[in-house]
């Protein structure tokens, strides 16, 4: 029985860690009763219980083996559910970005470029343009790499305050400044008259609630909604300020970098994840989109009673979420929000954070999971992934000649990539980069659809042939 819950978190989160089973032994017995809501869980529990009701020692061996099989089953069975739990926010984010791009013309006007991409793309020759875009992409990527390494170094030396402050500043910027601009542009597009006082009030409320929700505690759905909104805002900024070829190049290079950074033993992201695990801390609660509640940090031993009550209270994840988030809040003072903010800041170093978040893709927080039921443990996806997926789809809808066809094709491609990544996660059970597969599919489909399918479909529609 004890092994069951211990194994589950590891398998669920794709991070195989060895130190948890010991710490969680005390709580798992309590937890086993709580798994009533899931049918498969129930069956599983009955199996397990019937086994361990006898002589525990003799059955441990069999239980362990059966646990592993059942864990695999559960993982794959939950696989579908988790995939959907990730599909929905990714879809929402993409829908928001595409809707904005289509309606608000601000984001497709060229108003200059970021300082990170100093070379312009309005050059005379194709060769010059290519060279400029390569240089731009190189500069951007090196900025990201430097920031990532800086973050890892700060994290390693426990300079939590610095990271914390950095993240707070960037989230402030994002929540207030960018949403103000966004709101302004939306009003301009729809010709809505609005006075400054109302706008100030709205933005203030939005920003403050956002800060509280993301950094501290709040209802799970609201936090998810905020994360989606800020990812969309960030993606919109990228779409606006990155010139054409640079954007595509950056997407391609970032997925390669992501692959390298997460999987290589010396990669900064991998080091980050491993350090967080060694210290038994949750990785970036705010830099990551979590499909279920926030993970507790080291709460297992301290508060089994409270957790048990919170578990029993509702099948609905909301109730436990609020309670667990209470505990989470205190423990979360550490460095994590920093990464998250880093994630969101545009001026100071937007992208470096994203690699972190991506690293944390499906990692983690195995620490306090013991008290949580497996089905409540969701999959985590870094916010950077959201942003780059949305950038791809947004750019596709903004600049493609095939318009909606291309957008739809990229959307399906990204979703399938996400599916495959999650499948790999279930197989490999360790932190994986979420970008490469999806972005590759997306890019391939974008260019293919734009150049090949579009003329074909146009001709078909013109003659009204149907295939």
């Amino acid at each position: 029985m004890t092994e069951l819950s211990a194994h589950l978190p590891q398998f669920q989160h794709g991070q195989l860690t060895e130190n948890f089973p010991d710490t969680h032994l005390s709580n798992t017995n309590d937890n086993s009763e709580r798994r009533r809501h899931d049918n498969s869980e129930r069956r599983r529990n009955d199996n397990a219980e019937s086994e361990t009701n006898g002589q525990p020692q003799n059955n441990i061996q069999r239980v362990v083996e059966q646990d592993e099989e059942e864990d695999e089953e559960l993982t794959l069975k939950y696989g579908a559910k988790h995939v959907i739990m990730l599909f929905v926010p990714v879809t929402l984010c993409m829908v928001v970005v595409v809707a904005t791009i289509k309606s608000v013309s601000f984001y497709t006007r060229k108003d200059g470029q970021l300082i990170y991409t100093p070379f312009t793309e309005e050059t005379e020759t194709v060769g010059q343009r290519a060279l400029n875009s390569i240089l731009n992409a190189a500069i951007m990527i090196s900025v990201i790499i430097v920031m990532t390494i800086l973050l890892v170094v700060l994290y390693k030396y426990r300079c939590y305050k610095v990271i914390h402050g950095w993240l707070i500043i960037s989230s402030l910027l994002l929540l207030f400044f960018f949403s103000f601009i966004y709101l302004g542009e939306v009003f301009k597009t729809y010709n809505v008259a609005m006075d400054y006082i109302t706008v100030a009030l709205m933005i203030w409320n939005f920003g403050v609630v956002g800060m509280i929700c993301i950094h501290w505690k709040g209802p799970l759905r609201l936090q998810q909604a905020y994360l989606i909104m800020i990812s969309a805002l960030m993606a919109l900024v990228f779409i606006k300020y990155l010139p054409e070829w640079t954007a595509w190049l950056i997407l391609a290079v970032i997925s390669v970098y992501d692959l390298v950074a997460v999987l290589c033993p010396k990669g900064p992201l991998r080091m980050l994840v491993e350090t967080a695990q060694e210290r038994n801390e949750t990785l970036f609660p705010a830099l990551i989109y979590s499909s279920t509640m926030i993970w507790l940090v080291n709460m297992a031993e301290e508060d089994p009673e409270a957790q048990r009550k919170s578990k029993n209270s509702a099948y609905n994840k909301q109730a436990p979420a609020s309670q667990t988030q209470n505990e989470d809040a205190e423990a979360d003072d550490g460095g994590f929000s920093q990464e998250w903010q880093q994630q969101r800041d545009n001026r100071i170093g937007p992208i470096e954070s994203t690699p972190e978040s991506r690293a944390a893709v499906q990692a983690l927080p195995s620490n306090s999971q013991t008290s949580e039921d497996p089905e409540e443990r969701g999959v985590k996806l870094g916010l950077g992934d959201f942003i780059f997926y949305s950038v791809l789809v947004g750019k596709a809808s903004a600049t493609a000649s095939g318009d909606w066809n291309t957008t739809l094709a990229c959307f399906v491609a990204i979703l399938i990539g996400l599916c495959l990544t999650l499948l790999l996660l279930a197989i490999f059970k360790k932190a994986l980069p979420a970008l490469p597969i999806s972005i590759t599919f997306g890019l391939v489909f974008y260019f293919a659809t734009d150049n090949l399918v579009q003329p074909f479909m146009d001709q078909l529609a013109f003659h009204q042939f149907y295939i």
Partner: protein, 232 residues
């Protein structure tokens, strides 16, 4: 209507959503390959020749139909493997989703994707200003497009069921029938803008396919009557 199908039957179960998206993906890939072939053919030929272009287009359409069916077959193979995996993993020895449900969902996936690709640019343009058929083309363009798309989506769904059933029971004639039906429907759309020639046969074929699929799925006239009587 296709969206209604989606919401009521598929959106509940996450596994079905994944199968749907994967189905759409397979259709997309088939479209990609067929348009690649067409593109190469066009580039290699004379762009000025109207007749040739039209002929190439027809060739492209036929080829695309064949490719779509081929991809449906590939998808069937993939789903078979997946079902075996699911059965092995499930606790009580039976898979959480049957092959017929998968067939249905796969059909809907194909249909939705093809419908989306056919309609969505049209819809986007329809939002803008303009008059239909101002240059002497048919004024019913949008309406017929909508109906044709709908019939295609339904047809894909039914073909999915028939096709998978044929593969399951190794009845090659069923598979051949599906392919021929698809070719016929696409071919009939060549009669456009003579809408009578394309819409009517398509709807007839759809009715035929619907009854066939219904019978295959275990329904019968009795079931139908009971269903209708129970409701009212």
């Amino acid at each position: 209507p296709a969206f209604g199908l989606f919401i009521f039957t598929i959106a509940r179960d996450p596994l079905r959503i994944i199968i749907l998206i994967a189905g759409a993906f397979f259709w997309l890939v088939s479209l990609l390959l067929s348009s690649l072939i067409w593109f190469i053919a066009v580039k290699a030929s004379d762009p000025q020749d109207e007749r040739l272009q039209k002929g190439l287009l027809i060739f492209g359409v036929m080829f695309s139909v064949l490719l779509q069916e081929a991809f449906r077959f590939l998808y069937y193979k993939l789903l078979r493997k997946a079902i075996e995996g699911l059965v092995a993993l499930s606790e009580d020895g039976c898979s959480p989703i049957s092959i017929q449900q998968m067939a249905y969902v796969a059909g809907v996936g194909f249909g939705l994707m093809s419908g989306a690709f056919s309609m969505i640019n049209l819809l986007a343009d329809a939002l803008g200003p303009g008059t239909v058929g101002i240059h002497g083309d048919s004024q019913l363009y949008f309406l017929t497009s909508a109906f044709m798309t709908m019939v295609l989506i339904f047809l894909h769904t039914f073909w999915g069921i028939l096709f998978f059933h044929g593969c399951e029971h190794r009845r090659w004639w069923e598979i051949a029938a599906v392919v021929i039906m698809h070719l016929t429907v696409s071919g009939s759309s060549f009669c456009n803008p003579l809408y009578v020639g394309s819409l009517v046969p398509s709807y007839l074929l759809m009715a035929a396919a619907a009854t066939w699929a219904y019978l295959l799925s275990g329904g019968s006239a009795q079931n139908l009557r009971r269903f209708l009587l129970c409701k009212c």
